[in-house]
């Protein structure tokens, strides 16, 4: 897959649970952080959007866990953005840096709400117009 953005993330030990591996919920957090850093790379900021009355809400996450990350590991968190009707759909894959093993494979769906009203994601159309033909 051709990704639109990649972010290196180092595992933090408090993210590991009593099984000695990164707790599953943290992959969802890695994915959120990657989306928000991607947003910043486009010149926007999640909190600033919220202040303007524009909120992106996650409506669905579907994550498959493949290889457990552990203390000392780094990972490469990659995303690709597509539109499906009013939804933004992020394909988000996380790879262990040391060997490229796929750690988690996610699909995250987002809708954009402006002042309480569901939009067709036009706000992102503007941000993304220089990106690809999405």
């Amino acid at each position: 897959m051709k990704y639109d953005y990649e972010l290196e993330i180092k595992v933090r030990d408090y993210e590991c649970d009593l099984q000695g591996v990164v707790n599953n919920s943290n992959y969802q957090r890695y994915m959120e952080h990657t989306r928000h850093e991607y947003l910043e790379s486009l010149g926007e900021n999640f909190a600033a959007m919220h202040e303007k009355g524009i909120d992106a809400f996650v409506t669905r996450v579907d994550i498959r866990f493949k290889t457990s990350l552990r203390s000392g590991d780094s990972c490469l968190s990659c995303l690709r953005i597509d539109k499906e009707g009013p939804k933004l759909v992020f394909s988000q894959d996380i790879y262990r840096t040391s060997d490229g093993a796929l750690a988690a494979k996610g699909k995250v769906e987002i809708v954009v709400v402006e002042n309480g009203t569901l939009t067709r994601g036009e706000y992102f159309d503007n941000l993304l117009k220089n990106l690809r033909n999405i």
Copy 2:
């Protein structure tokens, strides 16, 4: 749906993010905690299983987010367990206590590994034999 277990959970304010709602990743955490409390209700404990060399690993989570929980809210976290081949499949729904609104609807797949070897989930068969005909 007929659930096998229900757990009341009060929202903690540190679980809410800058949008003023419970951060999505915490629903995954609520669901994990509910599964582990369910396990305790069956007389087993997650850490004790790990000590015995038996680990349950989540292989997939699929969560749809419906209604945002907020500061002050409680929710009822419900689960039903089924088996699909070697996998345990948990249907996990979270309802806002005040009005019964569906907050999140999840499907979580688990495999059981004993001393490094994937099992057919026999360990849970024993725990669950008195439950339903699953």
Copy 3:
């Protein structure tokens, strides 16, 4: 010590780290949740205060860790509130339920800011006037 409020908290397994014990940062979270539940018991809510332009900010935490909590444990999180000048000072002790062992002993200092201005904590004086002679 005579406490003003007590809250039972069950350890959640994702709060345990790779040492198999509750990660230290979670005691700070337990203490925050206990303060906010205490606030609710007085008829107020942290988010509602924030909406009204009144924010309680933690200026200092000092926590001594005594006995590690583990998977399966419950704890009793106790607090006592005192005033020292403009500051609210919470003495917060956490005990393992099974045997009463002291798990963590904290002192948390709070100031109250109204619309950006530091107050002398009068807002809490009103909430607490029926409590003790503080």
Copy 4:
């Protein structure tokens, strides 16, 4: 203060709470992550130590919160290590990158336990012998 180690950390939005600022408990997490990265810079790893039966346990944290970090902020997390008897004492200061404002000032005390027995921290003496005259 002369620091022994510095780590740049970008705020993640899920670390911000409903007040729109980084939740206090996360500074404790930033400090833990900084200590563990420092450990890696010395050629050791926290989980590997645990596997060898050597555990560093935090016995006290004392953190003063000065300036709130927000979405979009980065911070520089600095530490200095000293020994006081059997304890390792970390002075840990966190500065907002944009303007150098002090965000949090912490003192964290650690003891080292080997196979269940409290040590005088000799394990760290070896790691640190090339560092300073501590």
